[in-house]
């Protein structure tokens, strides 16, 4: 518990400011000073700054316990959850920017909600079942190990840190992003989901899917939930390649080899 306490420091926050209601004012950095207190997180610090110095400062927090995913932000150039970040682990100068890769609402607030809704629509992030629910029937049994594996894929909180850290997601707005690939794998593994390999192929393969990833893997480095994204992509590539082997022309096309080989 002791490393959380470093009394006596005066922190300087340099915060990105932009107000959508005043488009004539250029985006800028603004500085604030704050006395550090024990166990101070960015949640506490930003609220104190707003309440005492910058009444119009916009940022997003909800659960303040790293489960709701509201407070992704760039802290000294790295995407993190603000509520989970102790100032004690940061230098005296703390530079805060909004997450890139999302539409800016104002200051540190970005529109992750619409982005993730769009992603959910794109990958159809729900169980596709052909049978309607029967309220009279007992549940279908499932092996607990499989349930645990599905839960592992379910742990993503859609904070957007991986998207902000992803070179591809920042340049290709159609790329489903690391979080999207994780969602795909979660449903692909679920035996209740009746999508066929063919259905999946069109979602997974191609440059908006797993073959769009260029393997920088910043996503895994910055994921606040430590999701094993490298394993996720390996799984998706394997499934796509196995299916692609049954659809040879298409696989060559999507992996970009067709044109080079004169196809």
């Amino acid at each position: 518990m002791s490393e959380a306490t470093q009394p006596g420091r005066t922190l300087r926050f340099e915060i990105f400011r932009w107000d959508a209601s005043r488009p004539e004012v250029e985006p800028r950095m603004e500085s604030f000073e704050l006395e550090e207190t024990p166990y101070m997180t960015l949640f506490l610090a930003l609220n104190r700054i707003r309440e005492s110095q910058a009444p119009s400062l916009q940022f997003d927090f909800a659960c303040r316990s790293a489960v709701c995913g509201s407070c992704g932000m760039m802290v000294n150039g790295r995407p993190v959850l603000g509520c989970q970040t102790l100032t004690a682990n940061l230098p005296e100068v703390i530079r805060l920017h909004p997450l890139p890769g999302f539409e800016l609402i104002g200051d540190l607030s970005v529109d992750t909600g619409r982005w993730f809704r769009g992603m959910a629509e794109q990958v159809e992030a729900w169980v596709h079942e052909r049978e309607p629910f029967d309220p009279e029937a007992p549940e279908q049994p499932m092996d607990d190990d499989l349930a645990r594996a599905l839960y592992e894929g379910e742990r993503c909180i859609e904070c957007g840190c991986c998207v902000a850290g992803c070179g591809v997601a920042n340049t290709n707005p159609h790329f489903v992003g690391p979080a999207g690939l994780n969602r795909i794998k979660r449903f692909m593994m679920d035996p209740r989901d009746e999508r066929s390999e063919d259905d999946w192929f069109d979602v997974v393969a191609g440059e908006d899917g797993v073959f769009g990833c260029v393997g920088l893997m910043a996503c895994q480095d910055v994921c606040p939930k430590d999701l094993p994204l490298l394993e996720v992509y390996a799984y998706l590539r394997r499934r796509a390649l196995l299916q692609g082997a049954r659809r040879p022309g298409e696989l060559l096309q999507i992996t970009g080899t067709t044109s080079r080989d004169g196809g």
Binding site: A4, R22, A66, V67, W126, V127, R155
Partner: protein, 654 residues
């Protein structure tokens, strides 16, 4: 000229209750609009950890379970403050709700056949799960229940359920407007027609007109400031606009304190920790609950455990720390494997917010405001008292299956069950009733809200601040309307909150106008929060008995003769102060008796149950209860509890 939109069903709040209700209405072919102050998946439902109660009876420790036992536990847990018919509907529907969620993809933890080691009353016990139950939905133990009943997905149950339910919302293409807040209801002559909506991106006001309006904005724990497990968004906006519209709030003094809020941040540490065998220790590292509650030990109901904990602290058995006294939660004996799978989220929270590893360290905990049993008073169809076309579901409502104490895992279950049940009533209502309202009414309501905003912006800044008033409100409630309450403290709490309301009338904003203006956004909410705070303190002051979570040190007995009723707080339009009224709790099947844990001293109901029950319908109608689709009492399975296996026996068996 303001924007005016129309829809069939407007649902305010996109947590589990709101979304499940919206799904029901959309499934019935209606146009639905969902409003939420945050993207739906960031709603506070996502923070529910330990489980969802449903009597499936799938594992050995759940054998013999069924809706009747769930009903019994819920009513006893409520300290007989619940509406027993609603508790019955809930207990019967919960298994279907859980299975429907499995169908939608929730990765419920499943029964592992063969030998399993569980912790029961502090000891490891080896239990052989049957092969025929392999892979069915597993249960864990929770407080105040006769059987293991909580269905769970590690310690991220709410998150997993919310993602599955929101997946259905996306699949159905339901229109979600996030970063939008309903700041007033549009209503006329006891009929609700939608809401005035403030956009939290731009600050612009608009109106949404609807045949049926549903409030599902969750609880209001943030009236306790930082002394709560609740998210920053749980500011009671829905309850506040209902109160302003003349709708009564039920049992606002019934406030739950969760035994294990992480100290000092207040972040929730799930009851599943104790359900899985965790211990509570005092400064001498003694399990004080073994002697105090021999039967249930750490797994008595939350109100009872919280009281014992606060008493330990009062008796000098708390652990000193620089930021105040606390007790310990000990999970070390559960082992690393268990802590990294079934309680993974707890391990993460301890690491991130306290720098602890629960496999090696004790966890500092203290009772912390957690749940609002009180809320918008509705009938069993979910329709608000005295306001046709307005419904409420989930924590925002007082439906009222929780009475004066909610059992752990019953709220997650309520969101889905009530979403299904009330959602059907909402759909039927919207099919049967058109949108027969003048546009002028919507325009007037929007203009009223714009004037309210202008009023704030016109006031000059001063030395006082809205945040200082918020902190004062929180100190008052946490200090004087907490786990233990007394007449003099409550009187002073009421006085203080009245003064805070006066302060709010005089305070100005410091920032410049324009855009969503976070300071203005909070100022508008604080008006409502102070009103909720006042009716909470006033209800607690007037209720001169102890029932469930409402514990009066100056009136320690439960008093069924005078207080077997529900408080209804109204704030008549333009009135300076609220009014309190009372109604019968509902039809009583299980007679008031001993809960089986906590104190058993009480004053008996003087009149026969038959005469109490005969007064229910009229007593509730007088307070504004609207007629229900099916008659009151139709869902009660009278006397079924007599055939259930014995728990603590009610001493009035007839």
């Amino acid at each position: 000229m303001q924007a005016i939109e129309t829809t069939d069903v407007l649902v305010i709040g996109a947590g589990l209750a709101g979304e499940r209700c919206a799904i029901e209405a959309a499934g019935a072919g209606l146009g639905v609009k969902l409003l939420s102050v945050v993207p739906p998946r960031r709603s506070h439902s996502c923070a529910a950890q330990g489980g969802m109660q449903a009597a499936l009876g799938n594992c050995v420790k759940a054998e013999g379970d069924g809706p009747t036992l769930h009903f019994l536990d819920t009513v006893r847990g409520s300290d007989w403050g619940a509406d027993q018919e609603v508790a019955q509907i809930f207990a019967e529907e919960a298994p279907v709700a859980v299975r429907e969620l499995a169908h939608w993809g929730v990765p419920w933890t499943r029964v592992r056949p063969g030998k399993n080691t569980y912790f029961v009353k502090g000891e490891p016990v080896e239990i052989e799960e049957k092969d025929e139950n392999a892979g069915l939905i597993m249960h864990r133990n929770f407080g105040g229940t006769a059987k293991w009943r909580a269905c769970y997905a590690a310690a991220g149950t709410g998150h997993a359920v919310l993602y599955a339910v929101d997946g259905e919302v996306v699949r159905l293409g339901i229109d979600v407007q996030d970063r939008a807040e309903a700041v007033a209801l549009i209503h006329e002559s006891g009929r609700c027609w939608g809401a005035v909506v403030r956009c939290l991106r731009t600050g612009r006001m608009s109106a949404v007109l609807a045949r049926a309006t549903v409030i599902a904005t969750g609880g209001h724990g943030r009236i306790y400031g930082t002394y709560t497990t609740n998210a920053t968004i749980n500011e009671g906006t829905g309850a506040a606009i209902a109160l302003r519209a003349g709708v009564p709030l039920g049992n606002m003094e019934a406030v739950q304190f969760h035994p294990t809020g992480l100290w000092p941040s207040g972040i929730l540490v799930t009851e599943g920790c104790r359900g899985d065998g965790g211990h509570l220790l005092n400064r001498r590292l003694e399990r004080f609950l073994v002697d105090l509650e021999p039967e249930k030990q750490e797994l008595a109901s939350r109100d009872v455990v919280s009281r014992h904990m606060m008493q330990q602290i009062k008796d000098g058995q708390g652990v000193d720390s620089a930021v105040g006294e606390h007790l310990w939660l000990d999970l070390r004996h559960l082992g690393e494997r268990h802590l990294r799978t079934k309680l993974l989220e707890v391990t993460e929270i301890c690491r991130d917010f306290a720098g602890l590893d629960p496999a090696r360290d004790l966890i500092p905990v203290r009772p912390t405001q957690h749940y609002s049993m009180g809320g918008i008073r509705v009938n069993k169809d979910g329709e608000a008292y005295g306001m046709r076309g307005l419904f409420a579901v989930g924590e925002a409502s007082c439906w009222d299956m929780h009475g004066f104490n909610r059992l752990g895992g019953n709220s997650l279950a309520e969101t889905i069950v009530a979403g299904r049940v009330v959602g059907q009533r909402v759909a039927d209502f919207a099919h049967a009733n058109g949108l027969d309202v003048e546009v002028g009414l919507a325009q007037e309501c929007v203009q009223d809200e714009e004037r309210r905003v202008q009023g704030w912006l016109a006031r000059p800044g001063c030395t006082d601040s809205i945040y200082a008033i918020r902190d004062a409100m929180a100190e008052t409630l946490a200090g004087k309307v907490g786990v233990f309450r007394s007449g003099p403290e409550l009187e002073s709490a009421v006085d203080e909150i009245r003064q805070q309301i006066v302060r709010l009338d005089r305070v100005g904003l410091r920032g410049s106008p324009g855009g969503m203006n976070p300071e203005l956004t909070f100022a508008l909410r604080l008006e409502g929060m102070l009103r909720l705070a006042l009716v909470t303190a006033l209800g607690a002051l007037e209720r001169t008995e102890s029932r469930g979570a409402h514990c009066r040190t100056d009136h320690p007995r439960r008093d069924d003769q005078s207080w077997l009723n529900r408080t209804l707080a109204r704030w008549p339009e333009g009135a300076p102060a609220p009014e309190l009224h009372y109604e019968p709790v509902g039809l009583i099947d299980l007679p008031p008796g001993d809960r089986g844990y906590g104190q058993s001293d009480r004053r008996e109901l003087a009149e026969p149950l038959e005469s109490y029950n005969a007064s229910v319908v009229e007593g509730q109608r007088k307070q504004g209860a609207l007629p229900t689709v099916e008659p009151v009492g139709s869902r009660l399975d009278w006397g079924a509890w007599r055939h259930a296996e014995p728990g603590p026996t009610p001493d009035r068996s007839e």
